[in-house]
Amino acid sequence: MALDKNGIAKRIAQELQDGWYVNLGIGIPTLVANHIPEGMSVDFQSENGILGMGPFPYEGEEDADLINAGKQTITALDGAVYFDSSTSFAMIRGQHVQLTVLGAMEVSENGDIANWKIPGKMVKGMGGAMDLVASADNIIVAMMHANKKGESKLLNNCSLPLTGVGCVKKVVTNLAVLEIVKDGGFKLLERAPGVSVQEIKSATQGKLIIEGDIPEMSL
């Protein structure tokens, strides 16, 4: 059975390592924070200027001066620190943030990502996404395998304006975990529980690389 959004987040959480600094984008990526493995300590950076972001505040304890990059009210954990936007992107651009998880509208088999603009529609802007994808050593895209029209989001080439070039390393969808390999192609690493290789094949427009048996995710 294909994963739901929480399932995708749960699978991505398995990629975390103790002590990592992590930036989570809006949407599915945000849910990753709910699935940090027991005993592991991960520090969340929000690009508007906080490290050590905690959960939402209790009702009545919201502070307008304390928000995340999604403009949501948040809290700060012990050991948190606030900083300005140029310092925040110094962390990101300087590759001090070990993992970036973000959503995408399209990913190509050479790691291009498109997630900020649909021609003809209102353009809201790229926010910090272009800095994040251009800088991070380790980028995981969290998304559904197909768009609302049922079309594959894993493509030979992105059709939408790009956010970044050749930067995505791994994609976790409702159907599969895929690694983008150096010479181009989505190497299938894991299947969602109960999802067949054939289902993934037919849902993927880009070059899919299947080597040997593909295990199911263990969630």
């Binding site: 929000s46 690009e47 508007n48 200027g49 906080i50 959960p55 939402f56 505040p57 209790y58 009702e59 009545g60 304890e61 919201e62 502070d63 307008a64 001066d65 304390l66 928000i67 995340n68 990059a69 999604g70 403009k71 949501q72 009210t73 948040i74 700060a76 606030y82 900083f83 300005d84 936007s85 140029s86 925040s88 992107f89 110094a90 990101i92 651009r93 291009d112 209102m122 353009v123 809201k124 802007g125 790229m126 926010g127 910090g128 996404a129 272009m130 800095d131 251009a134 800088s135 304006p161 790009l162 956010t163 970044g164 070039v165 050749g166």
Partner: protein, 233 residues
């Protein structure tokens, strides 16, 4: 002795004219200079180029200037929360320059720091990089980005002293410090204005040298865009 303290937003904003370039601190509605924005509306100053990470919401923040058609051009990274913005942009009344958030912040800092241009990987291979010089460093392509400055930079701080030293609170800091550096004239509105010496010199975020005018703001609304909470267990 020069006095940086002015009595109100009205005096702070004097000299701002049609067609000028203004930087405004804030991220969403967090840490925005509410008093000066209200004053700019009152002044009816038009044809502004506004450099600000966001464009406010329909009825608050820079949205108030958009309502009055005071902005000719927005330079921002994300402008999604504003219907009037969308209408003006699609109709061609409003020019919009979208810049990656980190490049926007660094370009402001660079403008204040006398660095006219720098290389960054952000935007390479995208439309942001079109027409910009590309150079490879460490096997990775980078684009050359230029500094941003403004006729006026308007920032909002938590505490300030009369020499212009500023301290920010929480994530309301955001773009305020780099923009404070980049204004030919920088105006700071603060929640609390104290005498020189009352702020610990180790704890100042923006040194007063970057600030030309300072005043105590009033009636801060501090609107919350996305009120997210959890229930007590």
């Amino acid at each position: 002795m020069i006095n940086k303290v002015v009595s109100s937003a009205h005096h702070a904003c004097s000299g701002i004219e049609h067609g000028m370039t203004i930087m405004l601190g804030g991220f969403g509605l967090c840490g925005i200079p509410e008093n000066c924005i209200a004053e700019l509306v009152k002044m009816q100053v038009k044809e502004l180029t506004c450099i600000s990470n966001n464009a406010g919401v329909d009825d608050f923040g820079l949205g108030l200037l958009l309502q009055q058609r005071q902005i000719r051009k927005m330079i921002s990274s994300y402008v999604g929360e504003n219907d009037e913005f969308e209408r003006q942009m699609l109709s061609g009344e409003l020019e919009v320059d979208l810049i990656p958030q980190g490049s926007l912040a660094e370009r402001c800092r660079a403008g204040g720091a006398g660095i006219p241009a720098f290389f960054t990987p952000a935007g390479y291979g995208t439309e942001v990089g079109e027409g910009k010089e590309v150079r490879i460093f460490n096997d990775k392509p980078h684009i050359l980005e230029s500094a941003l400055t403004a006729d006026y930079a308007i920032v909002k701080a938590w505490k300030g002293d009369k020499t212009g030293n500023l301290i920010f609170k929480g994530t309301a800091r955001n773009f305020n410090p780099p923009m404070a550096m980049a204004g030919k004239i920088t105006i700071a509105e603060v929640e609390e204005l104290v005498e020189p010496g009352e702020l610990d010199p180790n704890q100042i975020h923006t040194p007063g040298i970057f600030v030309q005018r300072i005043f105590k703001g009033e009636g801060y609304q501090k609107r919350i865009e996305q009120r997210t909470t959890r229930k007590k267990a």
